[in-house]
Structures are given as structure tokens and as C-alpha cells.
């Protein structure tokens, strides 16, 4: 049924449809509304789940690690500093192969303190072993949560999934969302049956000491499983389409990329703005397009290669930086084409929207206009008057 919902409310409704047995989270802007709504569902008896109040994000992540280890579907959500406070547990959850689903309401990282949106938080934890999916709008973020449990809990995967949604832009943005019914959700997402679980009658240890004789195989296994996810996720989205009628590729989305001469690559809500600019420029006869990355981990290198190999000029929009090096997504897009015969003539890098600076249509137009024969690495919409060579 179509409803007019705040993004956070829509996520809470989607999580309710997935019937997690345990929810644990610590409030942090801009994630708070999601877990407030879930706490209300539990208090009202609308959701039969244990909501565990904790004193920190480190504990929230530890609770869902433990509950998933006992074979119970679990959920948490956080943002920014909260995700970083969870960081060691985030790696543990993946290392123990526990299919937790987490919503990351993307927010900038301190210092200076900033509660607004960019993607530095989740991008910084890209190496943790989690599957990371980035949503463009509230409908997609609802649908990705259903797919996240289905994917992570697959017996051939058993990995946690982080569903990333831009803070405020999506979490506090109100949009029409076609909410699935419980019957549809149940048809798509079966109850969770763990491959292994903590059980007093059958004692075992998860995450024990692995000395040099054992450790590297645990990493290799996760790496190989991520490759497998690249083939499994499109199959799951195809099944999703049968039940819900909405079609996703799951890995990437090509928007007017065929025959384009200039393409911007981006992740998350900014893709909506880029699509609008692409439409306007196409109306004026300009051959432009957008490549949206949905799955950042696993990184769909082959699909990106196929989509961009014939595009002369590519610009990569990052809402995060790797200070002292290249912007993260741009470096990986360039890596896709290293040593390849077919490749873009130019791959430029644009860092934009950090700390909630609006990426307007004009910003996007500027990026398209910068896609010339000269390769660039630019911060967009900088205010030079705030920058000084010496401290005063």
C-alpha cells in the first residue's frame, strides 16, 4: 500500500516486516527516529521482539553479535561516531560470519562535529567484510532491508549487511513509499535458520584464537564469498521483483548510460539529483548519463567495466575522502580500468557534499562541464574565502 512516510518510519516499518527477534541500538542523529519507531512498535505489542537498551554503540553491536550467534535474527542502526565506536565489533560480526543487518544513516565524521550527511562513516568501514548497499530513495531503502536479510542469511553467504541511507536527506525526507504487506514479506523472506549457533546442549566457540596456521583462510573465505554475492544478489533481486513488482539490478544501475559521452558515477541519494540534471541535459541534446553504485561491497568491478568501457569521459562523485590519497570510489573506478584496452579516456574525481553541503543541480552541471579532455581531481563548491595559508 502506498504511504506518505518519513524515511526513518519507512525503514522501521520494513524492519518490522522482517520480524527480528532482537533489536539493540543507541540513539544518534540522524538514525534516532528509526529506533524510536521500532521501540514504539515493541512497546505497543505490534512487534514481538526484544528491544535491548544499551549504554553505547559498542554494546549495541555486541548485543546483536551475541543474539545472532544464538540463531536469532537481529537488527541495529547507527550513524557516524556511533559506527566508529562499533568498529571493532563490526569487524567481529563479519569475522564470525553473523548475518546482522544494520542501517547506517550516513553522517559526517568529527572533528569538527557535524551531524549532517556525507558517506565518510560507512565508506571508512568498507574493509570490515560487511556487504554494503547504498539507497537512492526511501522506496529503495525499504526494499534493500528486505533483500539484506535474505542475502546475508543465505546459507552460502552468512555475512552481515549494512544498508546505507543518506542522513536527513533520506532519514528525515518524506516520500511516497509502497510498503509491502506482511504476506509479501513472509513469502520473500523465510524465517532464519542458523547454520551454526551458540547452544548449551551443543557447546562451541565462535571467533576463537586463530594463530598464523588458521587466520588467513578466514579472510580468504570472506573475500571469495563476496565474489559469490556478485552472482547471488541479482538472483535475489529477480525473486524480489516477482513478489513485489519492483525491479532492481542490485549491484549497479545504469541511467541513460548507453551512447553517453559523459557519465557521472555516484552512490546514494545524490543519484536522484544527477538523474534530473541528466534528463535536462539530454533534452538539450547533450549525451550524458549516470552510473549508480548500489553495492559498494562487494565491489561490482566487472559490471562497472561493462557499463563504462565505451564511455569517453567519466567523473566519479565521492561523498567521502581518503585524506592524503585519492577519493575512495574514484580510486576503485580507476583500478577497474588499469591495464584494460577498452577504457574511458578520462576518469576525473569530484569530492562534494561533505558535512551536508548541498549538492545542487548547479553542482552537478558544473561537474558535467568539468568532464573535458583534462583529467581533474576537484572539491566541488569550495568556499575559498574560508581557506588561509597561515593561521591567524
Amino acid at each position: 500500500m502506498k504511504e506518505f512516510l518519513e524515511g526513518s518510519r519507512a525503514v522501521a516499518e520494513a524492519v518490522k516486516l522482517c520480524k527480528p527477534g532482537v533489536i539493540s541500538a543507541y540513539p544518534i542523529t540522524p538514525q534516532t527516529h528509526i529506533v524510536e519507531e521500532l521501540a514504539q512498535f515493541v512497546a505497543d505489542g505490534a512487534l514481538n521482539s526484544q528491544f535491548v537498551n544499551v549504554e553505547s554503540e559498542h554494546s549495541a553491536a555486541s548485543v546483536v553479535l551475541g543474539s545472532t550467534a544464538t540463531g536469532v535474527r537481529s537488527y541495529t542502526a547507527t550513524s557516524s561516531q556511533g559506527l566508529f565506536y562499533m568498529a571493532e565489533v563490526v569487524f567481529n560480526i563479519a569475522g564470525m560470519r553473523l548475518p546482522v543487518v544494520m542501517t547506517c544513516a550516513n553522517r559526517a565524521i568529527s572533528a569538527p562535529i557535524n551531524i549532517w550527511n556525507d558517506q565518510q562513516d560507512s565508506v571508512s568501514l568498507r574493509d570490515a567484510g560487511w556487504i554494503q548497499l547504498y539507497a537512492e530513495d526511501n522506496q529503495e531503502v525499504v526494499d534493500l532491508h528486505l533483500m539484506a536479510y535474505r542475502l546475508g542469511e543465505d546459507k552460502s553467504v552468512m555475512l552481515p549487511v549494512m544498508v546505507c541511507m543518506d542522513g536527513f536527506i533520506l532519514t528525515h525526507g518524506i516520500e511516497t513509499v509502497d510498503m509491502p504487506t506482511q504476506e509479501q514479506a513472509d513469502k520473500f523472506l523465510p524465517p532464519y535458520h542458523a547454520l551454526y549457533k551458540l547452544d548449551v546442549d551443543n557447546p562451541m566457540t565462535l571467533g576463537p584464537l586463530a594463530d598464523p596456521d588458521y587466520y588467513i583462510e578466514t579472510r580468504y573465505a570472506i573475500q571469495e564469498t563476496h565474489k559469490h554475492v556478485l552472482t547471488l544478489l541479482p538472483k535475489i533481486t529477480a525473486e524480489f521483483s516477482k513478489v513485489f513488482g519492483r525491479t532492481y539490478n542490485g549491484l549497479i544501475e545504469e541511467y541513460r548510460v548507453k551512447d553517453a559521452e559523459r557519465v557521472i558515477v555516484a552512490m546514494g541519494s545524490v543519484c536522484g539529483t544527477v538523474k534530473d540534471v541528466v534528463d535536462e541535459l539530454r533534452d538539450k541534446g547533450k549525451k550524458v548519463g549516470l552510473l549508480k553504485i548500489v553495492s559498494y561491497r562487494p565491489f561490482p568491478a566487472q559490471q562497472i567495466y561493462e557499463a563504462l568501457k565505451a564511455i569517453p569521459k567519466v567523473g566519479v562523485l565521492d561523498k567521502a575522502v581518503s585524506l592524503g590519497s585519492f577519493a575512495p570510489l574514484s580510486a576503485e573506478i580507476k583500478a577497474v580500468f588499469f591495464g584494460k584496452k577498452k577504457k574511458p579516456e578520462v576518469i576525473s574525481s569530484f569530492v562534494a557534499g561533505l558535512g551536508g553541503r548541498d549538492i545542487t543541480k548547479n553542482s552537478v552541471r558544473e561537474m558535467f562541464s568539468m568532464l573535458t579532455a583534462k583529467e581533474r581531481s576537484e572539491f566541488i563548491d569550495l568556499k575559498p574565502e574560508l581557506l588561509k595559508d597561515t593561521y591567524e
Binding site: 557447546p203 562451541m204 565462535l206 576463537p208 586463530a210 583462510e217 578466514t218 580468504y220 573465505a221
Partner: protein, 87 residues
């Protein structure tokens, strides 16, 4: 794909720590032993056993050669000998 992930109870027995031994190993003389069991209690691998006096011995597949048993024996009835010497 999965790597080493879950460990069932009792797995430490599979880790033959005797391979760590480099130079010295204990020799239980079984002559002046009074059966005080201090060697059993002090062994970090729990690999010393015996029933009554002059019966105590260790399992060399787990003994790391730390020498704690020889050090604590009040009757000096355990010696540390060179690896390769007759036990």
C-alpha cells in the same frame, strides 16, 4: 566459502604444544617422589599425571619444556635433560 569458524569443545587437544619444545625436557626420575602432586598443579599444559608416589610422568606431545615441574619439585625428583637424551 567458509574458513576456520566454529570450534567444538575439546579442540585444544588437537594443538600439540609439544612441538614448541626446543632444548630441554623434563625427566621424571620416580625415585624420591612423595606424591605431592605439585608438578601436576603447576603444569601449564595440564599434561602431567600419576596415581601415587613414583608414578608421575608427562605427555611429551603436549609438554612445552617450560621446566616449572622440575623447579617446583620439593624432592628434586624431576630433572631437565637435553632434548634427545634418554628419558
Amino acid at each position: 566459502m567458509f574458513g576456520p569458524l566454529v570450534v567444538k569443545s575439546g579442540s585444544s587437544k588437537k594443538n600439540k604444544t609439544g612441538s614448541w619444545r626446543v632444548e630441554l625436557k623434563p625427566k621424571f626420575l620416580q625415585k624420591d617422589c612423595i606424591g605431592c602432586k605439585l608438578c601436576v598443579l603447576v603444569c601449564p599444559e595440564g599434561c602431567v599425571e600419576g596415581a601415587e608416589k613414583n608414578t608421575y610422568h608427562c605427555d611429551y606431545s603436549y609438554c612445552k619444556g617450560c621446566g616449572d615441574c622440575a623447579l617446583i619439585c620439593p624432592k628434586k625428583d624431576i630433572l631437565m635433560i637435553k632434548e634427545g637424551e634418554k628419558e
